[in-house]
């Protein structure tokens, strides 16, 4: 890899090669030009302390110059307020243009699934043979392309959005309400799931978020509730809704509650075609928007009891009441608080912090931004800085943010490949529990080796990030220069002795990059 990176470089001849090797072999000492405080409007900005850098790394997907300058300009409090409330800020022009050109940006679930159904029907009418196989493959390829576009959009926003906390929360909720793209027709609608079910609520009301996922065709397909009907009960979603989405496994529900909730959820499904013919008395209970449908003819109207509370048979209102009942349980506040604290604070979050966050959750009716404010302003949060191991998504996104510092990449496939190979494929978790968020699950010997290999891929060349893909043109780039201004300002002052020593033993800039991205300082935030 490093050999081919050299071969692509502009240097020719033995002496130039040796010169490069030698000039990069020692850790550089900061120069006045590199460390001079950045200036905005003439006033010098405050010098970054270690706790500022670590705080910023945790609240965002990693450092880049824009984020650092924002933080220096606004100060911690106003920076946090802006991250919690001002969302969906405009993206850099080339990134916005790439996203605007994507098909996934212009479609919705209803139209997409209706199209899939129509094409499947047309397929079925063809005789067995090459034409049918081709049509089947064309259809499947289209689904894969839409899924890739959704992932591409997610990754571009994660790297380039200034609403960094919002993007982290979108990742968090997509993982919390995890769906698997390779089940049923889920891959056709993950873009819509992210855009319309998760994004609008990522910093909003938790109850709205639960209902938005409950009604989305991605979830309805993934956890089988579209098949859940009176007389054909499927309890898969009912169980995971309580165990994984709201209450947690010790959250005080019983097998009986699972079965009762499954009955409440009968009739909640998908329809992309004609509405059903209903008896007159059922018609007022019919609900539909987008691909979501509540079909009262498939609903079990018997009286139910959930957590000892009677639920009268009354159609979809039962579902809304049940969700309200579930998210109002103290167990739900505790569970969500603990999940958030595990992701943002520590693998074993301090119980007192979780309790305060849970209190905020209950007092604010599940206002996610309010709970996060409690978290990020807690002294336990400050005390935890530097101790959280980055999961693969944080590692990959922070590497690209740091290496290319705002410069628009043309191709995200390498990032997707790295996430796949580190075991955190987007929309690729087969089981509904989402990816784990603790070091124990990401820092095994095999995973660390893989991480170093990816550090090498990023540090040794452009790694394909500047190749053209749909809607972009190729950009020219060699290996990144990680010993840049951002490095001298925010990284170099805080390096450990062993890391400095390793960097000093590097034989080339590429190797130096590799060691820096492999260092403990880069994997912990």
């Amino acid at each position: 890899m490093s050999i081919s990176a050299y071969a692509r470089g502009s240097l020719t001849g033995l002496s130039a090669c040796l010169l490069l090797v030698c000039s990069a072999c020692a850790t550089r000492t900061p120069t006045a030009a590199a460390t001079g405080a950045p200036q905005v409007g003439g006033a010098p900005l405050p010098v970054l302390r270690r706790e500022d850098v670590l705080w910023l790394e945790r609240v965002t997907f990693g450092l880049d110059s824009t984020t650092v300058a924002d933080y220096q300009r606004l100060g911690r409090e106003r920076f946090l307020a802006a991250q919690l409330h001002a969302v969906d800020r405009p993206l850099p022009a080339p990134i916005a243009a790439t996203i605007a050109a994507m098909e996934v940006t212009h479609i919705d679930s209803q139209a997409t699934l209706a199209d899939v159904a129509a094409r499947n029907k047309a397929l079925g009418a063809l005789p067995e043979g090459a034409d049918r196989e081709l049509a089947r493959k064309t259809l499947g390829d289209h689904g894969n392309e839409l899924a890739y576009e959704a992932i591409r959009r997610d990754l571009l926003r994660a790297v380039y959005s200034e609403s960094q906390l919002q993007e982290q929360m979108i990742w968090f909720w997509l993982n919390h309400f995890s769906v698997y793209q390779h089940k049923a027709n889920v891959r056709w609608v993950i873009g819509d799931y992210e855009e319309r079910a998760i994004r609008p609520h990522a910093l909003g009301s938790f109850k709205d978020l639960v209902l938005a996922t409950l009604e989305h065709p991605a979830m309805l397909q993934y956890l089988d509730n579209q098949q859940n009907a009176a007389g054909h009960v499927n309890e898969n979603y009912a169980r995971e809704l309580m165990e994984l989405h709201t209450l947690g496994v010790g959250g005080g529900y019983s097998q009986g509650d699972v079965q009762q909730l499954a009955l409440v959820l009968t009739g909640v499904g998908i329809n992309t075609g004609e509405p059903p013919r209903l008896k007159p008395e059922l018609r007022p209970l019919y609900r539909r928007h987008g691909a979501f449908e509540f079909n009262p003819a498939r609903h079990d109207f018997s009286a139910k009891i959930l957590f000892g509370v009677p639920v009268r048979g009354q159609g979809f209102a039962e579902v809304e009441n049940a969700v309200a009942l579930i998210v109002a349980q103290p167990a739900c506040a505790r569970f969500i608080a603990r999940e958030l604290a595990t992701y943002f604070v520590s693998d074993n979050p301090p119980p007192a912090l979780v309790a305060r966050m849970a209190r905020t959750f209950q007092q604010s009716n599940g206002d996610i931004a309010a709970v996060l404010h409690t978290l990020f302003t807690a002294r336990e949060f400050d005390a935890s800085l530097g101790g959280k191991f980055k999961d693969p998504m944080r590692f990959v996104v922070s590497s690209v943010r740091f290496a290319y510092d705002g410069r628009a990449i043309s191709n995200v496939k390498p990032m997707l490949n790295w996430l796949n190979s580190l075991g955190e494929a987007p929309y690729g978790r087969q089981t509904p529990d989402g990816y784990p968020m603790t070091e124990l699950n990401w820092a095994s010997s095999g995973q660390l080796s893989r991480r170093f290999e990816i550090a090498r891929a990023i540090g040794s060349g452009n790694a394909g990030l500047f190749d053209a893909e749909q809607g972009t043109t190729a950009g020219a780039a060699g290996f990144p220069q990680l010993s840049n201004r951002l490095y001298f300002e925010a990284v170099e002052p805080f390096l450990l002795a062993k890391t400095r020593d390793a960097l000093g033993r590097a034989n080339s800039q590429q190797e130096w990059n590799t060691f820096l991205l492999s260092s403990p300082e880069f994997s912990y935030e």
Partner: protein, 399 residues
């Protein structure tokens, strides 16, 4: 000399500076153990079919596997008067059973009643008593490896991308998925610098082990990689993985772990054919390949296939099954006393279902595994208690 050749020469010189320390190589004899974890709760009722139970056929109108027929060589294989084996594994696991190299333990599992995949997988891998708080840094395979390390070293490995909870608590066990193997990314000098950078860090052991294992595996599979370059590899998927596992366990490791997913069949699982049989067939072929690749080492190898729970005895409204309780474990090995259905059993009928829903657990998994381990390694009662605290080993007389 052009630049490329120079750099290659420099690289070769760097490599000559001594080898990275080899991982411990196991002695050529002594027991080996592989745990195969089927994640998702496989439908054991359609693997080991209770064909003498008329209730089985009533409860599964769409997905029951037809009764064995002695005239058929492709249907379910009758193992005795009550149980038959799924057609999907007839030629693989069924063949091992007929050679007394396979046995099944029905009505086995855990007392955990959450029927949650994740909760139950965790509790099984931890292998701790359910009463009391969980220690997530102590899995039963980790305790087994540590316990055996005192007398006979037991080099262990997880053939997975992430370290399974079963090995929690041991810092020296490496993990590496064998789905894809390739050349190591770092030469010896680079590997040493990376290890040094983590010197004194709590990840130092994992960093060093991981880099060494990459190097070792590349050597182990050098022949295979050469064959692959000539397109001479004819196995793929789980079979190829199983073949590679067998090579590593034959030469280097005594305790191994692998997990296989895709068993959560809530919808359309199929009867004699379909998604479950397809998964079972692949698993069966892989394990057969594993046994064959081990060669003579198969004689002192035991494989246990398990899953977090069984599934509902009745099919659900979508020709699938939901989360259940008791399940069926498989025990395979070249020298086991197989060809039997082992452990406590009872008649399969509606009246004997647990909570009118699924199989009861008559054989506690900790007792069953503890009994196998005791026989395999001749463990003392103190060693047994270290692996599975508060659960006496149960001797099913399979080993």
């Amino acid at each position: 000399m052009n630049r490329r050749h120079l750099l290659q020469a420099l690289g070769a010189a760097a490599l000559g500076g001594g080898q990275i320390g080899r991982l411990y190589a196991a002695p050529t004899s002594g027991p080996r153990f592989l745990l195969v974890f089927l994640r998702g709760g496989y439908d054991s009722t359609n693997l080991l079919i209770p064909y003498s139970s008329s209730y089985y056929y009533e409860a599964r109108p769409n997905i029951a596997v037809p009764r064995p027929d002695t005239a058929s060589s492709t249907g379910a294989l009758a193992l005795d008067a009550d149980w038959a084996l799924a057609p999907a594994v007839r030629d693989t696991i069924g063949a091992l059973y007929l050679q007394k190299q396979a046995a099944f333990v029905p009505f086995v599992g855990t007392e955990d009643l959450t029927r949650s995949h994740f909760e139950t997988q965790d509790s099984i891998e931890l292998g701790q008593p359910l009463s009391g708080s969980r220690n997530y840094r102590s899995g039963f395979l980790g305790r087994l490896a540590d316990t055996l390390a005192g007398s006979r070293p037991a080099a262990s490995i997880a053939f997975t991308d992430a370290m399974p909870l079963a090995f929690a608590g041991t810092s020296t066990v490496p993990n590496l998925s064998l789905k894809n193997v390739g050349k190591p990314a770092f030469d010896e000098r680079q590997a040493r610098i990376l290890s040094d950078m983590y010197g004194g860090h709590h990840l130092e052991g994992a960093v060093t082990n991981g880099l060494e294992l990459r190097h070792d595996v590349a050597q182990e599979f050098a022949d295979e990689m050469r064959a692959a370059n000539r397109d001479a590899i004819n196995t793929k998927g789980f079979e190829l993985e199983a073949e590679r596992m067998a090579m590593l366990m034959r030469d280097k490791y005594r305790i191994g772990f692998i997990d296989v997913g895709g068993w959560d069949t809530h919808v359309g699982e199929g009867a004699a054919q379909g998604s479950l049989p397809t998964n079972l067939a692949s698993l069966g072929r892989g394990l057969q390949t594993f046994s064959q690749t081990l060669g003579s080492a198969w004689q002192d190898t035991v494989v246990v296939v398990l899953s977090e729970f069984g599934r509902t005895f009745r099919e659900n409204g979508n020709r699938g099954t939901d989360h259940g309780h008791g399940t069926v474990y498989w025990v395979l090995g070249g020298a086991i006393k197989g060809g039997v259905i082992a452990g406590e059993q009872q008649v399969v009928s509606r009246a004997t279902l647990f909570q009118d829903r699924d199989y009861p657990v008559l054989n506690d998994y900790r007792g069953v595994l503890g009994g196998l381990f005791r026989s395999l390694w001749g463990m003392s009662s103190a060693q047994s208690a270290a692996v599975f605290p508060q659960r006496a080993p149960v001797d099913l007389k399979l080993v």
